[in-house]
Subunit: 345 residues, 2 copies
Amino acid sequence: MIPGPFLLYLGHSSDAVGIKTSRGLAAFRPKDCLGEWRHDDCPLTLDLPRMDAAAARAAGARTLVLGIANAGGKMDDALIHDALAAISAGLSVASGLHQRLRDEPRLVRAAADAGVTLFDVRDPPADLPIGNGLPRAGNRLLTVGTDCSVGKMYATLALRDAMHARGIAADFRATGQTGIMIAGAGVPVDAVVADFISGAIEQLTPARHDAGWDLIEGQGSLFHPSFAGVSTGLLHGAQPRALLLCHDPSRAHMRGLPHYQLPSITDCLAANLSVARLTSPHVQAVGIALNTVALDEADARRLCSSVADTHGLPCTDPYRFGADPIIDWMLTCCDASTPATTVSA
Amino acid sequence: MIPGPFLLYLGHSSDAVGIKTSRGLAAFRPKDCLGEWRHDDCPLTLDLPRMDAAAARAAGARTLVLGIANAGGKMDDALIHDALAAISAGLSVASGLHQRLRDEPRLVRAAADAGVTLFDVRDPPADLPIGNGLPRAGNRLLTVGTDCSVGKMYATLALRDAMHARGIAADFRATGQTGIMIAGAGVPVDAVVADFISGAIEQLTPARHDAGWDLIEGQGSLFHPSFAGVSTGLLHGAQPRALLLCHDPSRAHMRGLPHYQLPSITDCLAANLSVARLTSPHVQAVGIALNTVALDEADARRLCSSVADTHGLPCTDPYRFGADPIIDWMLTCCDASTPATTVSA
């Protein structure tokens, strides 16, 4: 486990989506987040006290979280420079980038000298199995998206918290670096070897025989030309009873690809259900989660209501307005009389 | 490059599909294959002289090719024992398994002592890019399948040879261990990190500005619960003008998964075209390749004719009967007036 409290790194980032790991920790583990480290050219903030590594260490921080993400996941020199400063100050360093901290000799040497630890959260477990697609018991929900970074993790965690508030057993199954840092466990599915994508998810979400739910964090989108392979394997490995479609209505084009439009919600639902049916023939869509952060409350509520009417599914921003309509419909759709709870693993 | 001539390892295999790497080399690089090494419990043969490592070395062999495949790609003790014997005899060793030769200390030590080389063909290149889906120039055909191991590589190579016989420029782009050993280059797409599947294929098949073709070896199947993520990323990265659907009519169920039926040719064509359209809106199916090895010639020809009629596409066993009907239709579908040859990369 990564020792807290954390100093969250924003660095020189100017892309709000790019700091999603730092933002996610601030949102879901606020008590463990002591401050944010951003340079003068960084226009973003998480509304935490601004401090550098030395000040954070003095205030009791144990780990610098490099909570920034970029396509490709490489560390640049500025990032390495700041990580070295943190190590000198006595902080451990955690990273979710594809490029491993342990593969950068300067960091390895400095960490050994300082007696601190490097955590590479995007390291997949060894000895992953090949997926087998065998029917397994248990209720599983997977979040899917019209694009990357539209709020799948937030929706999944909001759903979990709302289910816990009702006394329903529900476990968050993390599949990305931010989710893994929040949950303290999970599998970074985009970092596993391609042959093992569905097997990694089968291992993460084994058969369960209670009435509870595994709530699986989705990744990417079937409509994202860079990452749809990950999303496909995740759908097959998850063997979901229920899909929750996540969408950001303010997104102008597919993330990182100005030449690609977002799919319609209708097309996206149909494609995800079709792919999911291969391993879960009775899968159902149970709701639509909108990320309405760019809208004022009245507009957000109007949009949710309109999308719900159009698609005949509950629609809400579960992080902003709660997840109750989705939970109600999910429990109605997937009650004990339906097939998935009667198969054995 | 892996030095020939080769000794092809069959070992203790009893699964005809499991020796597909050895079989592929014997079929497409016959002059480089000196013999086969099989134990008494192996009922399979490639009709090559049977010999062990020492005899092969004496006859001039340079490399033992561990040309066997299994789901998961692990080496067992019997395999390691035989590889050590080959090294002692003075042979280099090449493997396409997921488990690397270089990760087995006994082999590393023995190879260093003997002055021979270990080749891990399933090692992906470093620094793969993330796919970008940008339209790129050039004619590309991708083989897709109703299942794994149904003849996609054979169909692709047969197509290449038939195009060369007509004087058409055509390059085989290998994506699996057998294809890479045959071609001497390629990318083992099932071994790349999941985020980089489509990017690896974009890099393997860059824009081309002549009238020739990249013929891309497909992998897995959209309908295989273990590997569909690989197939999806491959479809998106390939950005194919043309799809050639490969099918083995003798296959009783999805490979390795007795609980999964094969899809129909109709469903499989529709799903592959739908996925491919994301990055290649004008993609067309140009034929169906049947692996008729289990049928006598009259039955095989009757089946090809019947499948062609049902689907309105040329259908043949390109390895057995030649690829001409498919090439004719492919060139008709994808002539110079169609969009893909007019975009710039």
